[in-house]
C-alpha cells in the first residue's frame, strides 16, 4: 500500500531536507513534519511523513517492550 523507510536527516534547507538512507541521499520535502538534523524520518514518495520515535537499530528492542506492556 505505501512504501516508506526511515532515513537520517543530514541537513535542512527551508522545507527541504537531505536524508541519508544508508548512503543514498535524497532531497525530501519536510512540509509535514518538523525534523532536526540527526533525526530519523519516515519517508514516503519523497515526503517525510513522521519523525521516528527511535533509531532503526532500537526498533526491534522497542517492539518487545511494547508487546510486554500489552501484557498478552
Amino acid at each position: 500500500m505505501c512504501v516508506a523507510i526511515p532515513g537520517k536527516v543530514i541537513s535542512l534547507e527551508g522545507s527541504r531536507a537531505t536524508v541519508d538512507f544508508e548512503g543514498s541521499c535524497v532531497k525530501v520535502n519536510t512540509g509535514l513534519v518538523e525534523p532536526k538534523v540527526g533525526d530519523y524520518v519516515l519517508v514516503h514518495a519523497g515526503c517525510a511523513i513522521e519523525v521516528m520515535g527511535r533509531e532503526k537499530a532500537e526498533e526491534i528492542i522497542g517492539l518487545f517492550k511494547e508487546l510486554e506492556a500489552l501484557d498478552i
Binding site: V3, I5, F21, E22, G23, S24, C25
Partner: protein, 330 residues
C-alpha cells in the same frame, strides 16, 4: 560549437571516412582492423564461442563506466561464462543525429581500453546514422576460444553443487536508476570484465559445472534459468547475499528488490562441493571477486525450484522477474 553527428556521417562519403579515421581507426587500431578489408580474416582453431549483444543504456556515462565499456565487457563476459577466452570483438554503431563527436570519441576510447584490459581485439565495425536526438546504440559480437577440458553450460548443475556469487548485487542497476532519478549517492556501476576471475577459478584446479553473469533480471532470474536448464532445485541463504548498504537503502526508497536488479560485473559459478572453497578463494583474490560468497547449493533433481531461506528461519520460492521491475511507491 562542438561538432555533431549529421546524416552526412552515415553517407559513406567524405564525412564518414573522416569519422572513421578520427574516431574509430585512431582508437581501435590493430593489425587485423588496419587492413580495412570488407571482412576480418581470423586464424581460429579449436572450439569457438560466439555471442552478440546490443547496448542502449542512458545516460551514456555513469559512475563506474559508460556505454562503450559496457558494450565490450558485456559481450566478453558472455564468452567467459562458457569457459571461453575472448579473442575478437566486432562493433556496430547506430548513431543519432546531434550526438557530439567528442562524446563518441570518449566512448570509443573507453571501448579500446576495455578491449585491451580484456585481451580482445576489435576486428570489424560499422557505423550508421539515423534521425534522432543524439542517441547512440552499440552492438558487439565476440568470439572466444574454449580451452580443452572446459565444459561449463547452463544445464551442468548437479546435486550437491555449491553456488558461488562473485560480489554485491544490484550495483549497476542502482547506479543507472540513481542517475535517472537524480538521487545523490556513491553507488558505482560494477561494469567489469569477468574473464580474469574465470581464469583464476580454472587455474585453481576447480571443476566448473555452470557459470552465468548476473545481468538483466538479476540473480533471481538467472538462478531460475540455470535450475530449469539443469532440472535441479536450489536453496539459497538470504543472509549470505552480499548487498552494499547504499544499494539496499536505494532499494528501500524505491520498493525494489536487489535479487532482481541487474549487475554488469558479477557472476555465478556452480561448482562441485569439493571444489567450492578452492573456487571461492581464487575468486576472492581478484578485484572483481573480492566480495564473493557461497550463497547456496543445488539440493537435487527437480523442476527448477529455487528456495530462499530467510533470516528468521522461514522459506519462500524465488521466481524469475516478470516485467521491468519498476519502482513502486504506493
Amino acid at each position: 560549437m562542438t561538432e555533431k553527428i549529421t546524416m552526412a556521417h552515415g553517407s559513406g562519403g567524405r564525412s564518414g571516412a573522416d569519422l572513421m579515421e578520427k574516431v574509430f581507426a585512431k582508437h581501435f587500431s590493430n593489425e587485423v582492423l588496419d587492413r580495412m578489408e570488407d571482412a576480418a580474416v581470423l586464424d581460429i582453431s579449436g572450439r569457438a564461442a560466439v555471442s552478440t549483444d546490443s547496448f542502449v543504456v542512458t545516460p551514456h556515462f555513469f559512475k563506474g563506466g559508460d556505454i562503450g565499456k559496457l558494450a565490450v565487457c558485456g559481450t566478453a563476459n558472455d564468452l567467459a561464462m562458457m569457459g571461453a577466452v575472448p579473442k575478437y570483438i566486432t562493433c556496430g554503431f547506430i548513431l543519432e543525429e546531434g550526438l557530439a563527436i567528442e562524446e563518441l570519441e570518449r566512448i570509443a576510447a573507453s571501448m579500446a581500453k576495455a578491449a585491451e584490459d580484456a585481451g580482445v581485439r576489435i576486428v570489424a565495425g560499422d557505423t550508421k546514422v539515423v534521425e534522432g536526438k543524439g542517441g547512440l546504440y552499440i552492438n558487439t559480437t565476440g568470439i572466444g576460444i574454449i580451452p580443452e577440458g572446459r565444459n561449463a553450460g547452463a544445464a551442468g548443475c548437479k546435486e550437491g553443487d555449491a553456488i558461488i556469487l562473485s560480489g554485491t548485487l544490484g550495483d549497476h542497476h542502482a547506479c543507472i536508476l540513481s542517475a535517472r532519478m537524480g538521487m545523490e549517492n556513491d553507488i558505482k556501476s560494477d561494469c567489469a570484465f569477468l574473464g580474469h576471475a574465470v581464469e583464476k577459478i580454472y587455474a585453481a584446479g576447480a571443476e566448473v559445472h555452470a557459470m552465468r553473469d548476473v545481468t538483466r533480471g538479476g540473480l533471481g532470474t538467472i538462478l531460475n534459468e540455470l535450475a530449469e536448464a539443469s532440472g535441479v532445485d536450489m536453496e539459497l541463504e538470504e543472509s549470505s547475499l552480499p548487498v552494499r548498504p547504499e544499494v539496499r537503502g536505494l532499494c528501500g526508497i524505491l520498493g525494489l528488490e536487489p535479487l532482481y536488479m541487474g549487475n554488469e560485473g558479477k557472476m555465478i559459478a556452480v561448482v562441485p562441493e569439493k571444489d567450492a572453497e578452492k573456487a571461492l578463494t581464487a575468486l576472492k583474490e581478484t578485484p572483481e571477486g573480492r566480495d564473493a560468497a557461497i550463497i547456496g547449493r543445488v539440493t537435487g533433481k527437480g523442476e527448477g525450484e529455487v528456495i530462499m531461506n530467510t533470516p528468521l528461519g522461514g522459506s519462500r520460492i524465488v521466481d524469475m522477474l516478470y516485467g521491468e521491475g519498476l519502482p513502486r511507491i504506493c
